[in-house]
Structure formats: C-alpha cells, structure tokens
C-alpha cells in the first residue's frame, strides 16, 4: 500500500523530511514522535537500571561510587516515569484514540505538537545534567529536606526539566479530554467508546487534576533552591512535610495515569484475540472511573511512617484497600472475556496473558502495604521496590510492549515478526520475574531501598545476583525487539486494513497507516465494536459513512511549538546559572522573550488551515486500495 502522501514523502529530500517532522501537527506523526522520544529515554533509563544492578551484583562492589549510585537511581526513576512510560503511552493514545472515535485529528493539533516538544525539551534538559554539572540525586520523589541540602545543580535540573515536561503533559491531557468529549463521530455515545478511549479519557482527567499540584510543588522547590524562597526550609519557618503531601497528591494519581491506559490496551487485546466482545463493558467503564476517583483519596499511604497519627493513617489505609475492588472487577472481566472465546495466542495476547498474574501480584503486595501497621515494617525496604516494579513493569511496560506489537501495523503499515516478538516476550517476562520476585524476600530480610552496596553473608548475596541476571535477560528481550523493528522496517512488507483479522474498533476499518485525513467520510457508529458490527453485516467498506464525500478542512503544520519550547529550554539554563554567572539573567530573559514572542506570533497570525479537495481524496483512496 502506498498512499499519495507516502509517495510524496519518499520523494522529499532529507531536509524537507526533517522540516516536515519538526512542524507536523498530525496526530499520527506526533504519536510516532512520542514513540521515538519515549523509546530513547526508555533505553537511557534501561541503561541506568543495568548499571544499578551491576553495582548490586556482588557485595561490597565498587563499580560506581555512592554519590553516582544516588544519581543513577534518581535518574532511572524520573526518566522511566516521566520521560519513558508516559510519553510512550501518549504515543499510542495519539496514534489510536482519534481513529477509535472516528475523528480526523485531535481537538487542538497545535497544542498537541506543543505538548510533545515541551516533553522533549524538558527531558533533554533533565538529561543534560549528566554532562553539565551533576545529575539529581535525591531520589525520584526528591523529598524536600534532602533535595534542598543537595549540592550542585542536580536538583535544579530536576525541578526545571520536570516543570517544562510536565507542562507538555498537562497540555496533552487537556487536549485528549476535549477531543474525546467533542470530536466523537455521529453515533459514538460515551457507552460505545472502546475501552482504550475510555481509559485515555479518565487518565487525561487525572492529568488535569494531578499535574497542577506537581507544578506548584516544583515551583516551590525552584524558588527554594534558586530564588531564595523558604517554603520547605524548617530553619526559616517552612515545612518539609508539605513537599511530601504535594508530591504524593500528584504522585499517586500518576500511577493511575500510567496504569489505566495500560488496562485499556489490554482490554482491546483480550477482545480482539478472544473474538468476543468485552465481558461486562459497563462494569469496566465504571471500574475505570472509580479507580480514577479513588486514586485521589489515598496519597497519604505513601506517608504512613511520617507520623500523621492513627486516625489519618486508618482513613487512608481503608481508602487504599477500597481500590482493590474495582481493580478486581477488571481482572475478573478480562478472565471472563477469554472464557469460551476462540483464543489466538499472538504476541500481544501473550503479553496480556502474562500481565494478569504479574499485575495481580503487584496489586496484592499493594494491599499488604495499604495496611498501615505492616507498612511500618515494609517501608523503604526492597519489598517496596519489588511492589512498584511489579505494578509498573508488570502492568505498564508489558502494556507498552504489547501495544507496540498490536498497533505497529496500524502506525507503520508493516507487521512485526511474531516469532521474534515471542522471543522478546519470554526473555522479558522471565527476566522480569527473576529480577523482581526475589526482591520481595530481600526486603523481608531487611535490605533497605536505595542502598549503594551491602556486606556479604547476610543471606542477600545469591538473591541479588539472580536479580541482576534477570535484568540482563530483560535487556536481551528489548534488544531482540529493536532487531525485530529494524528487520521489519527493512523488509517493508505492507499490510492491509485489518492485519490481525479480528479487529473490532474503527481504527482497523481504514488503511494502515491511515491517510493523513484518517476518514474520507466521517463514519456512522451503530454500536460498541463498530468495525466488528459492519464486518458481521458484510459491509466491505468497513464503516458506514455519516456524510457525503466532500472537501476536508485540515490544519497547517507549524514551527512555532518547537520555538516556544526551545525558549523555555533556554530560559531554564538562565534561571539555573543566574546567581553564579553574569550571563544567567540575560539568558533567562532572552528565553522567556523567545517563548512569549512566538506565542504572540501565534495569536496575531491567522492560520485558517487548508482544504483537501474531493478529487485529491478520491485519488488517495483509489491508491490505497
């Protein structure tokens, strides 16, 4: 399959192609940009993880220094959460959600592009800390007293980099909310939305409410460290506990921001490869919303040992355990979706099957920690490390890898090798359990979290060694996947609309990759699993058009988002070096001026977009058949 747009793209030179990607506002291309950006940071975070495990391979190791180890764990956590997991999920949301609801793009294509570039420059800013000064070293939670005491510019990089990247995330979240509320095709009622769209919707609502607290917290930290503020400084009447509350008011919903879209991806996989509609669809939707809501009521369970008092601890413990109920509803619905289905164990399905036991284990240890008295024993031990890796790797990373295989044909028009995919899965899955299962017991044996090294003969040696070996297996799995991607791209065997043959939702009704306007005619939705219904009715076109074929209004690309984000990136350096270098203040001002100038340029310049003519659409559609 070659769409007209593709043929044109192939004739373009390198410069023109680069310019096209730098200025694109197309949700499918931004999705790919998110995958590239997130994938890059995922590899960085992975390398950091390998170095951590290498240091802990044997007792009394001195592979890295204690200070460098702190930087490694901090950057591993921060990178994986903010710069890898979230952007990778955003990549799939961008690429798939507008297709699932029958839209031609997101509600605000310009803001979509701005969101990506802010994430990218924020992440770049944070990671430049390795080369410029020192990386942040107060843990990914960056608790205030420790982070205020940290010397060098590490924590400054953390505060400013996350501020920029977090702004991008907030924009992306608002954009998805508006898109899903306003841009659904005719007939796509809320209760006909595919589960991935629903979970994206709820996760975006969580972003809307959870990221402002992070913004406030990071500004407090920025002021305390760079502009002489005393929000957290106890000596001057500040309160260091405030950071913990603000961070976890954001930080707990953040977990659900990551895991809900993953649930959505797995819901899609279970239905497609069981050839059944989702069991208990409305219960699934309700459980998603309930998890999102309860996610805001439980943040203090990260702070049981702070000394909030028995009343507060009891309230938050009960609320925490309540979340197990809607999560259990989801698990049973997935099992019952498979029950009696005609199951095909493809690579994505393999990930989904592996996800259920892995995630349930993470959930069960979560409920254990929800019991405040037990948490006093488990707090800051390797048990915690095991728990959150079971949730985030067993839930989110498996979902991302599954989605890579599931949606690769839709995004790139080629099918990843199933054989290599399964090799990746087994390496990754076995490696994952090897690495983290034993860490539960290391924690129970008393090994503290974030520890640089340990003495021999405490019974920790063997488990740590097995744990490190597992990390290597995971790395091999990821390398096999990269080889898979390169081979698939080189072979370039194009696939049709519905490469998995059992696609149920609208994205599978259009070519892979879709033409840049997605749907030649806006589709009419007649029920849940729109494409499945049409297939059952023998509709060869894949969807019923809701409108006659006419010219399509599309937005122009724009370079302004790139410049706006670049301005903030530059201003960040100015803010950081303001005190010790004379060029600091001018650079801070120049960066902000650049941002505000490009903002006003955007406001002043009328860009009304352009029309794709009927003739061009017909030509493209014929070409893609």
């Amino acid at each position: 399959m070659t769409t007209a747009a593709n043929t044109v793209a192939q004739k373009k030179g390198f410069g023109a192609t680069l310019w096209d990607w730098l200025t694109t506002v197309d949700h499918k291309k931004i999705g790919i940009l998110y995958l590239i950006g997130g994938g890059f940071f995922f590899v960085l975070g992975g390398i950091e993880a390998l170095m951590i495990r290498l240091q802990l391979l044997v007792p009394n190791n001195d592979f890295v220094s204690a200070g460098f180890f702190n930087e490694l764990i901090t950057m591993h956590g921060t990178t994986m959460i903010f710069l890898a997991a979230m952007p990778l999920l955003f990549g799939f949301m961008n690429a798939i959600v507008p297709l699932q609801i029958g839209a031609r793009d997101v509600a605000f294509p310009f803001i979509n592009s701005l969101g990506f570039w802010m994430f990218f420059f924020g992440g770049l800013f944070l990671n430049l800390s390795w080369f410029i000064d020192a990386a942040p070293d107060a843990g990914w939670t960056s608790y205030a007293s420790l982070s205020l005491a940290s010397t060098g510019h590490g924590i400054d990089f953390y505060a400013i980099g996350l501020q920029i990247a977090g702004g991008g995330t907030l924009m992306a979240g608002i954009n998805f909310l508006v898109t899903i509320i306003n841009m659904r095709a005719p007939g796509m009622t809320y209760m006909r939305m595919p589960l991935f769209t629903w979970t994206t919707f709820v996760a975006s609502a969580l972003i809307l409410f959870a990221f402002p607290p992070l913004t406030v917290g990071l500004f407090f930290l920025t002021f305390d460290r760079m502009f002489g503020g005393n929000f957290f400084d106890v000596d001057y009447g500040g309160n260091t506990i405030i950071w913990e509350h603000i961070f976890w008011i954001f930080g707990h919903p953040e977990v659900y921001i990551l895991v809900l879209p993953s649930f959505g991806i797995f819901s899609e996989i279970f239905t497609i490869f069981s050839r059944k509609r989702l069991f208990g669809y409305s219960a699934m939707v309700f459980a998603t919303v309930l998890i999102g809501f309860l996610g805001f009521m439980v943040w203090a369970h990260h702070m049981f040992t702070v000394g909030l008092g028995p009343t507060a601890n009891a309230i938050f413990a009960v609320a925490t355990m309540a979340i197990a109920v809607p999560t259990g509803v989801k698990i049973f619905n997935w099992l019952l979706t498979m029950w009696g289905g005609s199951i095909r164990v493809t690579t994505p399905m393999l990930y989904a099957l592996g996800f259920i036991p892995s995630f349930v284990m993470g959930g069960v240890t979560g409920v254990q920690q929800g019991a405040a008295p037990l948490d006093y024993q488990l707090h800051d031990s390797y048990f915690i490390v095991a728990h959150f890796h079971y949730v985030i790797v067993g839930g989110v990373v498996l979902a991302i890898l599954a989605a890579t295989h599931l949606y690769w044909p839709k995004m790139f028009g080629t099918m990843l090798s199933e054989k290599l995919g399964k090799v990746t899965f087994w390496f990754f899955f076995i490696g994952f359990h090897m690495t983290f299962f034993l860490q539960h017991f290391l924690g129970l044996m008393g090994m503290p979290r974030r520890v640089w090294t340990y003495n021999a003969d405490q019974g920790w040696d063997l488990f740590n060694m097995i744990s490190s070996a597992g990390a290597l297996l995971m790395a091999i799995g990821v390398i096999v996947m990269v080889i898979n991607i390169i081979m698939t791209t080189a072979k370039n065997e194009r696939v049709g609309n519905d490469p998995w043959e059992d696609g149920r939702t609208l994205e599978w009704a259009i070519p892979s990759p879709p033409p840049f306007y997605n749907f030649a005619q806006t589709p009419l939705v007649r029920g849940l699993d729109t494409y499945w219904i049409e297939k059952q009715d023998g509709n060869k076109k894949g969807y019923i058009p809701a409108e006659p074929l006419s010219d399509i209004h599309m937005p122009h690309g724009s370079f302004i988002p790139f410049v706006m984000s670049l301005g903030l990136f530059i201003a960040g350096f100015g803010a950081m070096f303001r005190v010790e270098h004379s060029w600091g203040l001018p650079v801070l001002i120049a960066g902000l001026v650049l941002t505000f100038l490009s903002m006003s340029l955007r406001s002043v310049k009328d860009d009304l977009g352009f029309y794709v003519t009927k003739e061009e659409i017909l030509r493209t559609e014929r070409g893609s058949k």
Partner: protein, 110 residues
C-alpha cells in the same frame, strides 16, 4: 473554495419561541444582576455598620459563595443544557482542592 454556507431560515413559530425564551432569559439576567448588587450592598453595609467581625466575616463569606454560584449558573450559563460535563469537572476539582486544604489544616503540623 466552494464551501456551501448553509443558511437556515426560522419559521415564524420558531422565531416567536426563540424570542420568548430570549426575553425570559434577559429578565432572569436583570433580576440576578439586581440581586448581586443588593448582596454586595449588604456586605459593604455590614462592614460599615461596625458589627462584630465574628458576625460580619461569616456573612460576607456566605454571600460570596452565593454570588459565585449565581455568577456561574446565570452569567456563565451553567444552568442551561449541555453544561453537565463542565459542571462535573468543576465539582471534582472543587472536591480535590477541598481535600487538599483539609489535609493542610489538619494533618500538616507547623
């Protein structure tokens, strides 16, 4: 670019119906406006009259809350159809903000 701009003419019945509705809305707006000014007057008078602050502050806060409601529902049209979702998001935001404030005044010690 030949993009058909659709012009829909109103029938007389439709016109009358819309006009009646508009008139009613206008009357509502004016009444609420008068009410808002009246409440503002009460607040200022309460301060000027020199009552005990223990009385004045709760009264002013109460009136302020009522005014925020009126502002949202009448002048920003939240009482009209199709505002359910914004209302839901606003109330969720209010709830979360309330919980945060509650936390800070109860379990964060100084």
């Amino acid at each position: 670019m030949a993009h058909d701009i659709e012009i829909i003419e109103k029938t007389p019945a439709e016109y009358n119906y819309k006009k009646r509705n508009a008139d009613r809305a206008m009357r509502g707006q004016l009444m609420m406006f008068a009410l808002m000014i009246f409440m503002t007057l009460i607040s200022f008078t309460a301060v000027q009259a020199g009552f005990s602050p223990l009385f004045v502050i709760p009264v002013i806060l109460l009136l302020a809350a009522v005014q925020v409601g009126l502002q949202l529902y009448y002048f920003m049209h939240m009482k009209e159809e199709g505002h359910g979702l914004p209302a839901m998001f606003m109330y969720t935001g209010v709830l979360i903000a309330f919980l945060t404030v509650l936390t800070f005044v109860t379990i964060v010690w100084w």
